[in-house]
């Protein structure tokens, strides 16, 4: 699909922010300390970035917080001036990087559409001409006379997104659009993304969401500390991004641990089929959840539980070693370090999961517990929704011919 021409060419882009150590804001301070030079911390946000976006490409930019992706987008959009390097772009840009910028809350939808249209480079007459289309797409026909401040935030986003879609821009730069809006409108936005992609509009999307990347992007750029860490195939880059994300977060926030005198849950982690520790598991792949237990007292008829939770749902799935593990009757002995491994083919749907691990013993109840002991991400789930993604097929059959 990519056309033979590059629509965006960025070479060796550098951008450094000078952050004053003491903010010399007032004239008084200037006057009192005329000879003191303001001291600056140099924040090198972009440290020599080069890449190309091809015509008609859906191009993703990912990176962790502070990796420079928003700064890069602002340079592309002409909001920041780069210190060094070249940016060349073919085609007209939509000037926004965020939805709803430039809306005036005291004006009606009509006035806002016209003004925003002008901001996007239309003439006032053209902007007025597109009003009906914009409103129809945003499904706001019933609220024309309402001031924008009385719109819900979802309605505002719908209007903004609709405006963006109806602008003449040949190229869109988008920063995390889908953070708001209700599910049905999000679906509509996704449909539009598909359509724009098919139409061959060049789109640069900055996002955190690996799902979005894998679904839409032809190619992806991964930024890390102001440098290009990797670029290319969405799937590979997405995987690398997840790895980076979890390397730095060994400790899961909100983890709670209750060790007893008898034993501790020392560690919990996820392994792939080769036994390598991973932060993310593709849907359908075999994986294991493992727990390392430090045993200090004898535990008869031990029982290890794993519980999978999400932020919303407790106990998506629970597994227990008792009556499942082959050697489940052997006691744990003092001084032993025991690894319990649960292996499964990943039937979970896309999302983020937490694992709780607990150890129980005969007549002793729970001996050790570790909540949110480990966190992992499932990606690559097929169509469908819900917490599990069961392998399935579908058929449509007619029981009898419809009489017409």
């Amino acid at each position: 699909m990519p056309a033979p021409h590059a629509a965006v060419d960025v070479r060796n882009l550098r951008k450094t922010f000078r952050v004053p150590r003491q903010h010399m804001m007032t004239l008084k301070e200037r006057a009192l300390h005329p000879f003191r030079r303001a001291e600056f911390d140099e924040l090198r946000v972009l440290r020599g970035i080069s890449f190309q976006v091809r015509e008609g490409e859906f191009f993703g930019i990912v990176g962790r917080n502070g990796s420079g992706k928003s700064t890069l987008l602002k340079c592309l959009a002409g909001i920041y001036r780069a210190d060094e390097g070249e940016i060349r772009i073919a085609g007209r840009l939509a000037p926004f990087i965020e939805l709803g910028v430039g809306f005036n809350p005291d004006l009606t939808a009509h006035d806002n559409v016209v003004i925003n249209g002008v901001m996007m480079g239309l003439s006032p007459a053209q902007a007025r001409g597109r009003f009906d289309e914009v409103i129809a797409f945003a499904e706001l026909e019933d609220f024309l006379d309402l001031k924008l401040k009385n719109y819900s935030s979802g309605m505002q986003v719908r209007l903004a997104f609709s405006l963006m879609v109806h602008s003449d821009a040949e190229m869109l730069l988008i920063d995390e659009v889908l953070a708001v809006g209700d599910a049905s409108f999000q679906q509509k936005c996704l449909d539009v993304f598909y359509r724009l992609r098919e139409e061959g509009r060049t789109i640069v999307l900055v996002t955190h969401d690996t799902g979005m990347i894998e679904r839409f992007c032809h190619r992806v750029l991964l930024l890390e500390d102001g440098l290009v860490e990797m670029s290319g195939d969405a799937h590979e880059v997405g995987r690398r991004y997840l790895e980076l994300n979890f390397e730095r977060r060994a400790e899961v926030p909100g983890a709670q641990s209750e060790g007893g005198d008898a034993a501790d849950v020392a560690d919990v982690w996820i392994e792939d089929a080769e036994g390598k520790r991973v932060p993310a598991v593709a849907h359908g792949e075999p994986f294991s959840v493992c727990a390392l237990l430090d045993v200090r007292e004898r535990i008869d008829r031990p029982d290890v539980h794993f519980a999978f939770n999400t932020d919303e749902v407790l106990n998506v799935f629970g597994a227990t070693s008792r009556a499942v593990a082959a050697n489940d009757d052997e006691p744990f002995l003092p001084g032993e370090r025991i690894v319990v491994r649960m292996t499964s083919e990943n039937a979970l749907g896309d999302g983020r999961y937490f694992v709780d691990c607990s150890l129980h013993g005969a007549e002793r109840g729970m001996i050790a517990f570790r909540g949110r002991a480990c966190e992992f991400v499932v990606f690559g789930g097929t169509t469908g929704s819900g917490l599990v993604s069961l392998p399935h097929t579908m058929r449509v059959e007619r029981e009898m011919e419809r009489v017409t």
Binding site: A6, I87, F96
Partner: protein
């Protein structure tokens, strides 16, 4: 596709992105935006108040009322000035245009932070649209002034048609001041209180309440170094009182007139240069 990728020739229509500037995005867009935003702001200023547009008229009228009572009735000032009430009203309308536009634009860039930081936007639109908004108010007020003028018994003269020759330099001067103030405020927040004091001082230092001939002779030239003073004196001759001297004669001929002209050009050019230089960095300094 792998990590090492072939580079493609750049599309021939590609142009370089040089970052933000005062006019970025084309002249047409700049003009449309200034017009739309200035007009919208004007509509919004009095929108929702019971008297609506009348307020844009009421404000200078009420200020005029107060000052007229104090100066004309209490201090018995202006008895020997021909058509003093009309002159006072006209001066107040013109000066409040300057003061309102400048005051509005001080904080304008900072208030429009969202636009500046998240959109490729010709920055100069922000102070200029403030000036445009104030211009609309002034034009509406001038209609009232001329109604008052005729009602007061001043005979219409052909020189009334020269009014644009006063208004255009006044608007340019105001735009210059607006650009200086709005770009300085981004870096120094002190600009706001300083301007509050300065604009009051300027109100009294400019011959608004009094005509220039009430100023001691030695100081007349000093007062007229302020270009607004010259404009007010000239409009007095053209519109209110044809028997008075024009700015040219009061200041004493051509070489002296170069001083206010220089101040005028200085403010306009400085405003533009300061804003143009500041424009690329505004988004980062906010």
């Amino acid at each position: 596709m792998s990590a090492t990728e072939a580079t493609f020739p750049l599309s021939p229509e590609a142009r370089e992105i040089r970052g933000p500037s005062a006019f970025g995005g084309g002249l047409r867009r700049f003009l449309y935006l200034t017009w739309m935003i200035g007009l919208t702001e004007y509509r919004l200023t009095y929108f929702g108040s019971a008297l609506g547009y009348l307020w844009s008229l009421m404000r200078p009228l009420m200020l005029f009322g107060v000052l007229y009572v104090v100066f004309s009735q209490v201090l018995k000032f202006g008895e020997d000035v021909r058509n003093y009430p009309v002159l006072l009203l006209l001066n107040i309308v013109l000066f409040s245009f300057f003061a309102d536009a400048a005051t509005r634009s001080v904080t304008a860039v900072v208030e429009n932070e969202q636009i500046v930081r998240k959109m490729h936007f010709p920055r100069i639109v922000i102070p200029l649209s403030c000036v445009l908004t104030a211009t609309f108010t002034m034009l509406v007020n001038l209609v009232a002034v001329f109604v008052f003028l005729v009602a007061y018994g001043v005979d219409p003269r052909w020189t009334w048609l020269l009014l644009p020759l006063i208004l255009i330099p006044l608007i340019l001067l105001t735009a210059g001041a607006a650009m200086i103030l709005s770009s300085l405020y981004v870096r120094f927040r002190d600009v706001s209180p300083i301007w509050a004091v300065l604009s009051t001082a300027l109100f009294y230092a400019t011959p608004v309440l009094y005509p220039i001939d009430k100023v001691p002779e030695d100081f007349q030239r000093v007062a007229l170094a302020n270009p607004i003073a010259d404009l007010l004196q000239q409009v007095r001759r053209w519109v209110v009182d044809p028997s008075t001297q024009g700015a040219f004669d009061v200041i004493g001929g051509l070489p002296w007139l170069l001083i206010p002209t220089g101040v005028f050009l200085g403010i306009c050019i400085l405003g533009f240069v300061v804003f143009e230089r500041q424009a690329p960095q505004i988004a980062e300094q906010l």
